[in-house]
Amino acid sequence: MQNTKGLALEVRLSAYIDGEVNEAERKELEQLVARDDEARLVLEMLKAGNAFGNKAFEEFLHDPVPLSLVRRIKQGPGVNPKSERVVNAAPRQARLRLWPRALAASIALLLVGGSTGFIIGKTGNDGVAPVDMAAARTWLDDIADYHRIYSRQTAEHLVEVPAGNTKIESWLASSVGVNFALPDLSDKGLTFEGARLLVAAGKPVAQLMYKDEDGDVFAICFLKSRPGTTDGKMTESMRDDIAMISWQKAGAAYVVVGPSADANLQQLADAVSATI
């Protein structure tokens, strides 16, 4: 616990928010806030700053981490991450513009004019109302969310249709509208576990699930799309602990998903692209 007596009011109230003042000071500051409008305003500003900062810092975690750096850590020396800096962050471009506006619009509701120019309205918790952040999600965001959930399921719940069912290919091809051949990735140390039908970005998506010897789950997902200018070009991205390599080919979009710590995802994507 810190002794904040004699320090500036905002410093004391800041420490109060963090529970870093002793019991006597806590009571003193609570009484001060209860009777003093200025102290109350400072406290609300500190809380509003907290909420604003928390939201902003959360955004940093959505930035892709250089995949090559992950590989280097996994494999050891031999790869030069500097040759591949931060990978494609394209899915976040739209969110870039919408985020501040959505936040500003919400926060505007909390601001009331006053003698100091503005007063931040009293709220029940941390000073800023919840902000609707749902914007500009791509199908890869949905796939990452699915993978995060399904890859932690026990074996019996990992897939919807287990391997061995001879109708998997025809079922998914007709559901998704993409003809494909089930990739045999046994030479990559992966065993086919089965499949699921997902919905991502409002479209049906086929998901083929594989496991390696360590139990790590890998997925191949694809959906029908229009041939684009990036046909065949592979793009690497990372969502926290999940790595993704995606490409488009012959009217379909594909992505290979695996743990970010896996060093061989690119080879796996190459193999899938060549055989699927």
Partner: protein, 172 residues
């Protein structure tokens, strides 16, 4: 040296903290290019010195402290290269390295606003308010007195609150 399995586990743990490590590095360097270089250097050093990690407490704290030290070294080198002397950056209240402004390409405007704060504020705010480190832990990681943690934290919060107003006025 640690057994191979333990080393692999350390590497996995290191990978899992990469997004957070990069975020912390961004608060120090205030631009993505320097942050990525710093993260790379930190990871290399952490791997070669993983036997020094005792497994107690938060891995992030150990890595963060290493990150901070490497960045201070880098600042010192740059000052020497540019003829600015060898003043310890940690001894300055307001460090002289400017945020890269227009040259930097940040993922979004909010990040840019955060990183435009005077150096030292974002790091303290991140450690205490976002990641839940105590004042003592933050002070140890950043090698600054607790009193500095307290003053920087309150300053950061007030500046962030002011940003709300700026954002709102810009929209109006």
């Amino acid at each position: 040296m640690r057994p191979a399995a333990e080393s692999n586990e350390f590497r996995r743990d290191l990978v899992s903290v990469l997004p957070k490590l990069r975020r912390f590095a961004m608060t120090l360097t205030r631009n993505a290019a320097d942050a990525d270089d710093l993260v790379q250097e930190v990871c290399e050093r952490a791997i070669t010195r993983n036997h020094l990690w005792n497994g107690e407490g938060r891995l992030e704290s150990w890595i963060y402290a290493m990150t901070r030290n490497l960045w201070i070294d880098e600042i010192r080198k740059r000052k020497v290269r540019t003829g600015g002397g060898t003043v310890d950056a940690s001894e300055q209240d307001e460090l002289s390295i400017e945020a890269s402004g227009e040259k930097a390409v940040y993922a979004n405007q909010l990040q840019k606003m955060i990183l435009s704060m005077p150096e030292g504020l974002a790091s303290v705010f991140l450690l205490v308010n976002v990641e839940g480190h105590s004042y003592r832990e933050a002070a140890d990681i950043l090698k600054i007195p607790i009193g500095t943690v307290m003053s920087r934290l309150s300053t950061a919060r007030m500046r962030l609150a002011a940003m709300i107003t700026e954002t709102t006025e810009r929209r109006a």
